[in-house]
C-alpha cells in the first residue's frame, strides 16, 4: 500500500460566485489502490469542503459518479489511481450542462429514458395468482445484457452525435427500449418504435461505437442500436415492399 502525491486538477464552477469555470489543483496523498473518487473525498474532507460532486455506492452500481477523467468518461469509483500518472484532470461529464463543479444536469437523460416506455407492456394480462410468466434461460439471455445499464450516462458523454444533436435519444435510452423489445414477456415494440425508429432516434446514430467502449457494465449500447436499425429496416421493407405481410 504505497502512497503517491497526486496533483488533482479539478474543474470548479459555482454559478453564484463564478462568471466562468476554472481549474483548481489539489495536492493529494493517494494510496496506490485508491480510485479517483477516494482522492476527491480526501479533498472534500481535508482540503476544501466547498467542492461538489455526486457519489454513493463506491462499487460501480449506483451510477452517480460519472465524470471526465483525463478527458475520458469514467466512473470516479472505478478509475484506479495506479492507472494514471501523478497528474490527473477531472472535469464534469461532457455534453451535459454543468450545475456546479462536477455536478451536471441529469434531466435531459431522465426525460429521454422515460420517453421510450422503459417498462414491460405485457403481451397478455395475467393475474398475480396465476404465477410467473415462464421465460427460459435462453429467452432471458436475449435481453439480459441490456438490463445491466446503471444509467451513469457515460455513453452520452462519449457520444459525438449527442454532442452535436442534443435531441438525439442516445445510447442508453435506445438500449433500454431494445431491452424490453427483446423480452419474451413484452408486446410493446410497436409503441416504442414510434419513438426510437425516428430521425432523433436510432437513425441519428452514426455508429462511432464510443458508447460501448466507455460503458462500465459492458452493456454494448452500440450493438443494441445496430440491432434496432436492422429490425427497423426490416419493418420498412415489410411495410413498403411487401404490404401483404404483417409487421
Amino acid at each position: 500500500m504505497s502512497e503517491r502525491q497526486i496533483q488533482l486538477e479539478v474543474l470548479r464552477y459555482n454559478p453564484e460566485t463564478d462568471s466562468e469555470p476554472r481549474y483548481q489543483t489539489y495536492s493529494v496523498p493517494c494510496m496506490n489502490e485508491w480510485v479517483v473518487l477516494d482522492a476527491l473525498n480526501y479533498v472534500k474532507e481535508h482540503l476544501d469542503p466547498t467542492l461538489s460532486y455526486r457519489w454513493s455506492c463506491h462499487m460501480a452500481v449506483c451510477g452517480s459518479c460519472g465524470m471526465m477523467i483525463n478527458g475520458e468518461p469514467k466512473l470516479a469509483c472505478k478509475a484506479f489511481i495506479h492507472e494514471y500518472t501523478d497528474q490527473i484532470r477531472v472535469d464534469p461529464m461532457a455534453n451535459f450542462p454543468i450545475e456546479r463543479d462536477l455536478v451536471t444536469s441529469v434531466e435531459d437523460f431522465i426525460a429521454k429514458l422515460a420517453s421510450v416506455k422503459p417498462y414491460l407492456i405485457p403481451k397478455e394480462d395475467k393475474p398475480i395468482s396465476a404465477g410467473e410468466f415462464k421465460q427460459t434461460p435462453a429467452e432471458l439471455k436475449k435481453f439480459k445484457q441490456y438490463t445491466l445499464c446503471i444509467n451513469c450516462m457515460l455513453c452520452y458523454a462519449a457520444c459525438p452525435q449527442y454532442g452535436l444533436v442534443p435531441e438525439f435519444l442516445g445510447p442508453a435510452a435506445i438500449s433500454m427500449a431494445h431491452r424490453y423489445n427483446q423480452d419474451s414477456r413484452d408486446g410493446g415494440r410497436d409503441q416504442r418504435q414510434e419513438v426510437i425508429a425516428t430521425d432523433t432516434g436510432v437513425w441519428e446514430c452514426s455508429f462511432v461505437g464510443a458508447c460501448s467502449e466507455v460503458c462500465p457494465k459492458h452493456v454494448d449500447p452500440a450493438g443494441a442500436l445496430q440491432q434496432v436499425k436492422v429490425a427497423s429496416t426490416i419493418d420498412w421493407y415489410k411495410e413498403h415492399l411487401m404490404p401483404w405481410m404483417k409487421k
Binding site: F80, E132, K134, I150
Partner: protein
C-alpha cells in the same frame, strides 16, 4: 416559500418508496403523489443489494418453514404477527415484480429459480444473478414512469416533518439544486429513506445511508425501535467494505482460517460439510450474526490471516469453477478483481465482517403505521419488526416490497378517514421555523467544529465500542461520547455559504441525522443487558427472555439522551427456543 400541495408525500425513492408510489398510483389514479428523494431514484442504495429476495414459491417449501426460519433467525425478537403477514405477501410481491419485467434468474423449464441463503432451511431466495437489488430497483423505477400521478422531486432533502393537531401533515424539503426550501402539504407521509450504516467507518453502505428518515421521525416525536441491533455481514472486502453476497456461500463457497480449517465447526455450526455440497442452515449457511461472531472468535484466538487491511479469513469459491461463478456471481468476480486484484476463480478472497444493515428503525406496526397519525414508514428505516435481533439475508428486499405497499394502503385508509383541513397558517409557521434553522446553520460564522472532524470521532466511537461484541463499560463510553458530539454539533461551521448544490450543507445535515441515530443505538445497546442475535454482550452473555423479550423504544430529546421504553414482543405461535445451526441432526 413555495407550497406544494399533494395527497401523500413519500420520502425516499428506493425499493420501498417506489413500491409505495406505484401502489398508490394503482389504487387511485386521482391521488396526488409526491415522491421526494435526496438522490435520483436509481442511485438509491437498494441497487447495491446482491443476493436475492425470499418468498415461498417451490412445492418443497411452506409458509410455516419461512416463518420458523425468520423468527428463529431473529432470535425471537421478531413480532410474529408481522412475520405472518410478511411471508404471506412475499410470493405475491415477488411475482408482481416478475410481471413488471424483473429479470429473475430461471430454471431450465422457465420457472423462477431459487438459491440457498444463510439461516434458511429451504432454497427460497429469488435472485437475478448477483445483482438482485439493482434489478429490483430499476424495475420499480422504470415501472413508476408509467404513472403520471407520481410526481418526482429528485434531489430534494427532507429537513422536517410538519405535525399539527397531533398528526403528520407534510414536510419541508430543500431543493438541492437551488438551495430553496419548499413546503409540502400532505394528508399523509411515508418515510422510506433507508438505514444509517454510515455512522460506522467500515460498512457496505453507500454514502447516502445517513439515517435521515429515521432522524426525521425521531425528531418529530415518534420513537425508534431496537436500534442497538446492527448487522455485520460476514463477507466484506477488507480494504473498502464492498459486499460479497451471501450467495457466494449459497452457491457453495466456504470459509477458512489461516490454518485452512473450516472454523465455523468450532462455533456450534458443525460438523464440517463436504466442499461443493453445501447443507442448508449449517456451516457456511448459518446466519450472519453467528458467522460474524465466529470471525471475532478466530481473531481472538490468532487464527486469522494478516493482510495490509487488517485481520481476515478466507472465502474460497475456486471449486465452483469459472462457468458457475460467471453465471451466478459475475458481480462478485468483477468486484474482487477490480477492487482487490484477486480473482475468485483462481484464489481464495480475504474477507472480514462489515456493518451492513440496521434491524432497528422507526417503530411501526403491522400496518406500517408509526405512533404519529398520518406518518408511515417502510424498508430499512422502519422496524416492524420482522427481522428481530438478526435479519436473515434475502428477507430485506422482500420487506421493501411487502411493507412499501402496505404503507401505501394504510396511508390511503388514513386519508379516507375524513380528516379535517390542515391549518395552513400553523403549518406555514412550522415550515418557516425549519427554514430558519437551516439558514442559521448556514450563516453561523463563529463555529469551531468541523463536519469531517465530528464525523470521524463518531465513526471511531462506534467502531471501537459498538462492534460485534460489546461491554457495559465500552457502551457507557460510547453513550457519553455521542452525547458530547451532539452538544458539539451545535458549534459546527460551514465553509460553503452558497446555495447551488451545497454538499457542505448536505453533509452537515446528514451528520446531524447520524448523531441522533447513533445515540439511539448506543443507549439501546447499553441498556439491553443480555445477548441476543446481533447484540452480544461480554458482560451479559445469555439471552434473557424473562426481562428482555422486549423491544427497545427510544424517544428523542433535543439536548439530553433519549428516554427509553420497552414494549413486549408479539408472540403468536413460536415460543423462544434454541437457535440450533449445528448440522448433526440434518
Amino acid at each position: 416559500m413555495e407550497i406544494v400541495k399533494t395527497d401523500i408525500a413519500i420520502i425516499g425513492a428506493g425499493g420501498a418508496g417506489l413500491r409505495a408510489a406505484i401502489a398508490l398510483a394503482e389504487a387511485d389514479p386521482k391521488l396526488r403523489i409526491a415522491l421526494i428523494s435526496k438522490v435520483y431514484p436509481m442511485r438509491s442504495h437498494t441497487c447495491a443489494a446482491e443476493g436475492g429476495a425470499a418468498g415461498v414459491i417451490k412445492s418443497d417449501d411452506s409458509m410455516a418453514l419461512h416463518f420458523g426460519d425468520t423468527v428463529g433467525g431473529g432470535d425471537w425478537l421478531s413480532d410474529q404477527d408481522a412475520v405472518e403477514y410478511f411471508i404471506q405477501e412475499a410470493p405475491k410481491e415477488l411475482t408482481q415484480l416478475e410481471h413488471w419485467g424483473c429479470p429473475w434468474s430461471r430454471e431450465p423449464d422457465g420457472s423462477v429459480a431459487v438459491r440457498p441463503f444463510g439461516g434458511m432451511k429451504i432454497k427460497r431466495t429469488w435472485f437475478a444473478a448477483d445483482k438482485s437489488g439493482f434489478h429490483i430497483l430499476h424495475t420499480l423505477f422504470q415501472t413508476s414512469l408509467k404513472y403520471p400521478s407520481i410526481q418526482r422531486f429528485d434531489e430534494y432533502y427532507a429537513t422536517d416533518l410538519l405535525v399539527e393537531d397531533g398528526r403528520c401533515q407534510g414536510l419541508t424539503a430543500l431543493e438541492i439544486r437551488s438551495g430553496q426550501m419548499k413546503q409540502f402539504q400532505a394528508k399523509a407521509v411515508i418515510i422510506a429513506a433507508g438505514g444509517g450504516g454510515k455512522m460506522f467507518p467500515f460498512t457496505t453502505n453507500g454514502n447516502i445511508k445517513t439515517g435521515d428518515g429515521m432522524a426525521l421521525a425521531y425528531r418529530a416525536g415518534t420513537p425508534l425501535k431496537d436500534m442497538e441491533f446492527v448487522q455485520y455481514h460476514p463477507t466484506g472486502l477488507p480494504n473498502n467494505g464492498i459486499l460479497l453476497t451471501e450467495g457466494c456461500r449459497g452457491e457453495g463457497g466456504v470459509l477458512f482460517n489461516k490454518d485452512g480449517r473450516r472454523y465455523l465447526q468450532d462455533y456450534g455450526m458443525g460438523p464440517e460439510t463436504p466442499i461443493g455440497q453445501p447443507v442448508l442452515k449449517t456451516m457456511e449457511l448459518g446466519p450472519r450474526d453467528r458467522l460474524s461472531q465466529a470471525f471475532w472468535g478466530e481473531q481472538k484466538k490468532g487464527n486469522t490471516v494478516s493482510t495490509p487491511w487488517g485481520d481476515c479469513v478466507l472465502l474460497d469459491m475456486r471449486h465452483l469453477g469459472e462457468k458457475k461463478i460467471d453465471e451466478r456471481l459475475p458481480l462478485v468476480r468483477d468486484l474482487c478483481i477490480s477492487y482487490l486484484g484477486k480473482d475468485p476463480v483462481k484464489e481464495p478472497i480475504p474477507i472480514r465482517p462489515v456493518v451492513h444493515y440496521m434491524m432497528g428503525g422507526i417503530h411501526t406496526d403491522t400496518r406500517a403505521a408509526t405512533r404519529l397519525p398520518g406518518l408511515f414508514a417502510a424498508g430499512e428505516c422502519a422496524c416492524v419488526s420482522i427481522n428481530g435481533a438478526n435479519r436473515l439475508g434475502s428477507n430485506s428486499l422482500t420487506e421493501l416490497l411487502v411493507f412499501g405497499k402496505r404503507a401505501a394502503l394504510s396511508a390511503i385508509e388514513h386519508i379516507q378517514s375524513g380528516l379535517p383541513d390542515g391549518k395552513g397558517a400553523a403549518l406555514a409557521a412550522q415550515a418557516q421555523a425549519s427554514e430558519a434553522r437551516i439558514s442559521a446553520l448556514m450563516n453561523k460564522s463563529n463555529g469551531t467544529e468541523t463536519i469531517a472532524g465530528l464525523r470521524k470521532e463518531m465513526m471511531d466511537t462506534m467502531e471501537t465500542n459498538v462492534g460485534i461484541y460489546r461491554t457495559g463499560s465500552e457502551l457507557a463510553t460510547a453513550c457519553d461520547k455521542i452525547s458530547e458530539l451532539r452538544q458539539r454539533y451545535a458549534n459546527i461551521a460551514l465553509h460553503d455559504k452558497t446555495h447551488v448544490y451545497n454538499t457542505d450543507l448536505m453533509q452537515a445535515l446528514e451528520l446531524g441525522s447520524m448523531l441522533d441515530c447513533a445515540e439511539a443505538v448506543t443507549v439501546g445497546a447499553r441498556d439491553r443487558k443480555e445477548s441476543r442475535g446481533a447484540h452480544q454482550r461480554l458482560d451479559f452473555t445469555e439471552r434473557d427472555d424473562v426481562n428482555l423479550l422486549k423491544h427497545t423504544l427510544t424517544h428523542y430529546h433535543p439536548t439530553d439522551p433519549p428516554r427509553v421504553e420497552y414494549l413486549d414482543v408479539v408472540i403468536t405461535q413460536s415460543q423462544p427456543g434454541v437457535r440450533d445451526y449445528s448440522g448433526a441432526k440434518k
